[in-house]
């Protein structure tokens, strides 16, 4: 194993899980996410030498996002436009499979499912900014770098995304608790 590969494993691979989570929230299906992550890691490896003390996680997630956008473009060119929303909502629980915590109560799992579903129903730009801020805990500057927009846009988009999730959540709470899919 050469030094370059070793440095890559030490610096970049610790962020593999973050890359995977991000791809899962961007992609329409788990297998799409797998392909996106793999492609992103390879691209990162090829472009590794260009990384100069930058924020590695933001750098990797930027690549993940670009790979996702490329994959979506390719799918559209092939004419297979992915189905929206419901698909994701059903995939949500599958994400738990590898991390299932036997201790978690069924209530907790219900809440996970609900929130996964609410998130899935948000527009992509809302989903991605919420994941970057709340799950990956990135600051505005990093989010701006990953999503390729000015910081001002990050702030307003983040505000809209939070408000949108909160609104859907309230709707859910008031709406038919038994009829939820």
């Amino acid at each position: 194993m050469d030094d370059r590969r070793r440095r890559f494993e030490v610096l970049v691979l610790p962020h593999l899980d973050a890359a995977y989570r991000f791809a899962r929230w961007l992609s329409r299906s788990p297998s799409d996410a797998d392909d996106v992550v793999q492609e992103a890691i390879l691209r990162a490896y090829r472009g590794f030498d260009a990384l100069r003390g930058a924020d590695v996680k933001a750098w990797l997630l930027t690549i993940v996002r670009n790979c996702h956008l490329t994959a979506v473009k390719q799918q559209q060119r092939r004419g297979s436009v992915p189905l929206p929303e419901e698909h994701d909502a059903q995939d949500g629980p599958a994400m738990i499979a590898t991390t299932a915590d036997p201790e978690s109560t069924s209530i907790r799992r219900d809440e996970e499912r609900t929130l996964d579903r609410l998130m899935s129903a948000l527009p992509e730009e809302h989903r991605e900014i919420l994941v970057l801020r709340e799950i990956e805990e990135m600051d505005y500057r990093e989010i701006a770098a990953v999503t390729n927009v000015p910081i001002g846009t990050v702030m307003s988009r983040l505000a809209r995304a939070r408000a949108a999730l909160k609104a859907r959540w309230l709707q859910e709470a008031e709406g038919e608790p038994h009829a939820v899919r």
């Binding site: 030490v10 600051d139 307003s156």
Partner: protein, 241 residues
Amino acid sequence: MRCAESLRVQAHFDGELDALRAADIERHCEACAECRELLKDLAQVRTALRQDLTYATTPPALRARIMRALDQESGVQSPRLNAGRLMSWRSRPFWKGAFSGIGGTAIAASIAFFLLAPPLTNPLLDDLVNAHVRSLMPNHLIDVVSTDKHTVKPWFAGHTDVSPVVADFAQQGYRLIGGRADYFDQQRAAVVVYQHGSHVINVFSWAATNASLPKNTTRNGYHLAFWKTGNLAYCAVSDTG
């Protein structure tokens, strides 16, 4: 109608404001009910997302696939085992390497310690796991970066209270990547850091007291293996992926 300060309130919530502007916004919130409400909403959404959103980790099969793709990319011939492999911990080549490297006395000593080991609930276990987790945070892993044991070992002389065995198990797939000084059990412990795939293994060593070592165990998902050589106690900590 949104308060004109709402974005700055959000920025304050996200820790983006300096102390001066943060104080400004806090004063504003005292006077503005709408912004106080906003802060409550922001906190609620954050708590919900952090607690109840599925927190996925890379499936082992995907991790393995990626490692193979990387091997191909970097021209490594022999396909590696899945980085998240689930071999039983003690049958791992590393331990064979560790034991053969350190010698028969170590095996005898370890067996003796496994037999004499006291029951669980040992603060030492917590210290070790905490130190391991801390080491995985950015910029905490390695003080001396080197794959050369002749560089790592002398470094410890000036930085820790002990001079541990620094072996090289590259053949077995466990590469030496450096060393670190850590403080626990009231002394400056030496930590030798190895890497296997994307997994980090911290081998702690410290001057053993008369108290016997804990049994090999698993704690918070991290595996701890103990052994003793001479008057040095060792503990290897890692995850299985």
